[in-house]
Symmetry: C2
Subunit: 340 residues, 2 copies
């Protein structure tokens, strides 16, 4: 519906053929006179001609596009992750396209199908609800390279960026145990993705090793990974009479802060709160949040690097990259109140 | 570089011509036998054939894509704004593509040029640094419909979604004056976009009306619109010996909270803090932030509706939509300490 300046307009203005214009603009103009070359270049600038990508596209069979599917671009984790992807893609002259699918399987299928239709070159999928079925039915038959992130699918044989979630859970437990906590509760979503499952297992295994009682049936509060999720489950967390809470991510922990604050509970004096991710906001809440750091920007950059390498060589060996996590101790955790 | 299932593969499998397949899949298969029609549809599903968008594209001359340019997708304001756009676009079967250009003019030109190359159907531009020159040199000559948001360009004659920033500034001043504040400071970025200029003018005009002294040269602290910007200028804000601060947006106010907290300053007892936007986070900080609400999700939805209408009718009359703002009083503002 646009009436863009076309290559034909440009050719007419220059008094040469479309082929001539095309070759000059594609850097293959040596066989034309300097004068003709200059005329075409000057007119391109004067007329603000932008080559039509779709036409070029059909020849290249590539849209130079990377699709990125995240559950929630409103979570600072994912906006930072995308910033890393954007940076690397730009250097490689690829365009990253992000979709926020709210963990809704229908939305995810819709966006994935749409991207495949548009000949996307590769996909970075970070989502808890993209099923193996979706991957098998949409991506594999169309031979679209993809990278699963934040899921650590064990049954998938593709490239993998592995964040050590098990170790992250262990570090959280170790920190709280060291402070002297004996009665802990974990706040995690009901349907665990593989990475969250590992995070939780690292945590519970470490408690077990230390001889601390933890009953997965009663000591886990189920809440969505959002600020609202944390806020709405503050009552339930308090009912567990724990001295420390391990939250599945920082957003959730920050929502829990609000609920605890409304109940007049002091953090960390009356309850220690621990997050996960180290989003930039973690330093801006009061008290500053103790958390497990994932190098988020770097994760985005590395994801983009892996998918670009794969696009350039579909047959190369499987890429496996391990990413470590670390404890960031701030002000939201302390010795349990019974010890004070 | 992908080896997608093509229409040719499908035609071969069905034992019919490519044209036959194309017509059947495009709902124009009445002239073929029911059997042929069914065979093609069944094979399409079995082979997971997805029509090639780029090929279709050349015929339609439309990519069914809306480009969205924002300064910072990590600011919850813009992620919520984009969520609204995504919702409306999906209903209209358009794909919104978002870019976060960090208020960097080079990045913005890069992404805009890239989108024009890809035959984007329309653009929603919310950015402080896209210049009139960029618009005149890239968008206008290519006849790409665009909507400027969050800028309220007075010289632009295009469609406009007008948020009443002047009134927003007035409401902020009115609220602080009513509480009894006489000594106020404003925190705003150095280079003001048109909307921020109005916001600030509404604020200062209202102070003037009330006979309150405010010197724009000394009573404005310049800081970027980010949490870090607010945090790093806490010292300067405190040096002004004001009893209330009006921040240009909530992110900045939340950063300022941290700086004030580190100085041991109590909000609102020692200093009232007022934000702008009402991002969801405003309710999650302690104390909850008093702010001016923009209906962010609705702004995104309306932006998408306006641009889609324009795409469907390039010659329709100019669209002007006014969006009101309102005061949301929470816990970060109170009577000035000298009054207590």
């Amino acid at each position: 519906m646009n009436s863009k300046v076309t290559i034909k307009d440009l050719a007419e203005a220059a008094g040469v053929s479309v082929t001539t214009v095309s070759q000059i603009l594609n850097g293959k103009g040596e066989r034309f006179s300097k004068k003709t070359q200059e005329k075409v270049i000057t007119l391109r600038d004067q007329l603000h001609y932008v080559p039509d990508f779709n036409a070029r596209n059909l020849i290249l069979r590539s849209s130079r596009t990377i699709g990125v599917l995240v559950p929630n671009i409103g979570n600072p984790f994912f906006s930072t992750f995308f910033r890393g992807i954007q940076k690397v893609c730009r250097q490689a002259h690829y365009l990253p396209i992000v979709f926020s699918a709210s963990n809704d399987e229908t939305s995810e299928k819709y966006y994935l199908g749409n991207l495949v239709e548009r000949s996307v070159d590769g996909l970075i999928i970070s989502s808890s609800s993209v099923t193996a079925d979706t991957i098998d039915s949409i991506l594999k038959p169309n031979h679209i390279p993809y990278l699963l992130f934040d899921r650590n699918q064990t049954h998938d044989d593709g490239d993998r960026l592995q964040v050590d979630d098990y170790q992250g859970g262990q570090l959280a437990a170790e920190h709280l145990i060291k402070l002297g906590h004996q009665r802990m509760v974990a706040v995690f979503p009901e349907n665990l993705t593989n990475n969250l499952e590992k995070r939780l297992h690292g945590f519970t295994d470490e408690l077990k090793k230390a001889g601390i009682h933890f009953n997965p049936k009663t000591d886990i509060v189920n809440a969505p990974l959002t600020k609202l999720g944390g806020y709405e489950h503050a009552d339930e967390v308090l009912s567990k009479k724990a001295t420390a809470v391990f939250c599945a991510n920082d957003e959730l922990a920050i929502g829990l802060y609000r609920g605890l604050h409304e109940h007049g509970i002091k953090i960390p004096e009356e309850l220690s709160v621990m997050g996960y991710d180290n989003i930039d906001l973690a330093e801006y809440v009061t008290p500053k949040l103790t958390t497990i750091e994932q190098p988020i920007l770097k994760l985005g950059e590395t994801s983009a690097q892996l998918i670009l390498k794969r696009i350039n060589d579909l047959n190369m060996e499987r890429q496996l990259v391990d990413v470590p996590v670390k404890l960031v101790e701030r002000e939201s955790t302390a010795r349990p109140h019974s010890y004070n």
